[in-house]
Symmetry: C2
Subunit: 368 residues, 2 copies
DNA sequence: TTGTAAGCGTTATCAT
DNA sequence: ATGATAACGCTTACAA
């Protein structure tokens, strides 16, 4: 590590003087004074109001540019009754599916001349609390929740007096809240997980290990585990508890590293299996590596299946069989629904999208 | 797509009544009235000020909980002179390196009892404009820029009167701005790229293709290309323009898909090569897939090297040789430096971190 | 077309 | 310990 330059802070440069006191920011008032006009005229210039003399406006804009004045958004939001904006609250920014959804939502929001507030919510934060604050602060017209568990009290969520939609990619839809209070866009995790497991069974697999990431009831992880059990029992295969492997709790649940560690432990446990169903592609990648390192060939010795349909599964070697969630369609529907509700064309809606089973190179007929 | 439930919006539920008019939000005034106290007392209760009767406070807090009152942040920010908060402006949220950096920055910020504003900047947005707004709105004490190009005017950036740091992971440090105005934390892209290329040359490779993602001068992509040229000329290998492959411009530059397409085109071009240096791991993954599909073995027939040190390279099959950027250390140094500047212990600093060449399975001696 | 003034919902400064 | 009241920086009637 090379320190190229160091110099002591001299003060005055950073909006605080030598004593650490805050220097006054430049305001609309200063601009008005400097232009010799009233503040409302400046305001009109900024917000390009129709009734203002173009010359006056130009003059003001020049001064604004020269001084580098930027209006204070807090003051604006405070005063403005209507901001034409919506927010996306993202819990777990790591999820690669979210990026795609956000991109779509951004585009559609812009088309509607709305502005989008994107807010990242920490794992330990309560997303409804954050939403509550944001609604007041930014005068939001609607909210989309991406990620999180949603076991919130109906009482609390009722305070959120704008339309909100839960997008169930990595989000368990609240079971404890009246369904007329909210909207949701989801994939039937249990059903799709069932489909994948059934596919594996159809390939002749009997000992299918499953890598599961959550134990909370109604969580995505549990739902996918249920689907796995459904397929097993339908095929008359006894459920073997030892083939259910929970990922490590002390590192990021949905990560390649966790898939690797968990699969490695599975191998070392000595339990017999001919297929591994990782309930997320990102886990599948790590799992593949662990299996490969253990000297197993995929899919000749062991089949590996994922879930989600993220890019990496397609480019991995071998390409990983997966359940693709139609994220773009879901995002489009989500944003359309939100604007429908805002416009009063609908009240709420619960939509379930079908996922797509994509068979790639990582799954094959059971050995022996 | 199954529509489970549809009902017409009845109004009244969402902070707007039937006519679409906004319903008044509950304010501190309402709480004061309902509690039979003055508003300043409520304010004291909310901000747990010392001089308030515990009983009064409890009573007020009960009412607040019951009514679901949430203070308006815009009003708070407007009035508050000092917020003890800093911001991270992220351009290109897709970069997996950023997540790690942000995590570290978040932790350290919390330790200092500061709050962190995380702001996602669109590709087409000017990050300095966004920063300027945010500084006023949130009374920020400092800013960290992650991603972006930074060819900003000194004039404009001088208006940013809080300390700011450019973290050069996916960011080209501004060359056109006086170095005393800002701080930077970086890896020497040219040098590290040189090192990787030299490693490949040491393995006997002479025809090394390079996958490059940007053509802007001083961009990360260009710097890495320069390093490649440096190594070539040092080894007395003639530079072959046809081995330099720019990624597709109309899709996301740094993506597996783009690595795949670009490598595929390289193969189809018929140009001879025994190694591919992808200037980002994410490109390397796509490139590997394309090479594999073309029937080449890695590293027996062709070596592949990446850059960045992201997780996927470690778990890919084969594991990808890379230049690891010490993101966590860099993040730690970044946040420490920012707080040093805020506290007046330093003025500015330019720090260059060494990267680490990690040789994995994807590179080997040149064929033939 | 322009200026004046009344808020927006807080916090901070006074008195009390 | 508590309550008025004046800002904070802006938008928006309303008046000119």
């Amino acid at each position: 590590m090379f320190h190229v330059t160091i110099r002591k802070y001299q003060g005055g440069k950073y909006g605080r003087n030598m004593e650490g006191c805050i220097m006054p920011e430049i305001t609309i008032k200063d601009i008005a004074k400097q232009c010799g006009v009233g503040i409302s005229t400046v305001s009109r210039a900024i917000n390009n109001h129709p009734d203002i003399n173009p010359e006056t406006k130009n003059m003001i804009m020049d001064v604004i540019k020269a001084t580098g004045f930027v209006p204070n958004n807090s003051a604006r939001n405070l005063k403005r009754i209507d901001a034409k904006s919506i927010a996306v609250l993202v819990k777990g920014i790591t999820n690669p599916l979210f990026s795609d959804m956000i991109k779509v939502i951004e585009e559609e929001t812009q088309k509607k001349k709305y502005s989008l507030v994107l807010k990242h919510v920490e794992y330990y934060e309560d997303e409804v609390d954050v939403a509550l604050e944001l609604v007041k602060e930014k005068r939001l017209r609607g909210i989309i929740f991406l990620g999180g568990y949603f076991l919130h009290s109906q009482e609390k969520i009722e305070n959120l007096r704008v339309p909100y939609i839960f997008s169930t990619i990595g989000t368990a839809v609240p079971e404890n809240i009246s369904r007329v209070l909210y909207s949701s866009i989801a994939v039937d995790d249990r059903k799709e997980s069932y489909a994948m497991t059934a596919h594996l069974i159809g390939l002749g697999h009997r000992n299918i290990a499953i890598l599961s990431a959550e134990s909370e009831i109604n969580s995505i992880g549990q739902l996918r585990l249920e689907g796995y059990k459904d397929a097993l029992s339908e095929a008359g295969i006894a459920f073997n508890e030892r083939l259910v492997r929970q990922v490590e709790d002390d590192i990021e649940h949905y990560s390649m590293e966790n898939g690797y560690i968990t699969a490695k432990k599975l191998v070392e446990s000595g339990e017999k299996f001919t297929a591994v169903f990782a309930t997320a592609d990102i886990l599948a990648v790590g799992a593949c590596r662990a299996l490969l390192e253990a000297g197993m060939r995929i899919p000749e010795d062991v089949s590996v299946a994922g879930y989600d349909g993220i890019d990496v599964g397609k480019y991995y070697n071998p390409a990983i069989t997966t359940v693709r969630q139609p994220v773009k369609d879901m995002a489009k529907t989500t944003i359309k629904l939100l604007f429908d509700i805002i416009a009063g064309r609908k009240s709420y809606e619960h939509i379930v999208f079908p996922a797509e089973l994509i068979v790639r190179e990582s799954t094959g007929t059971a050995k022996g």
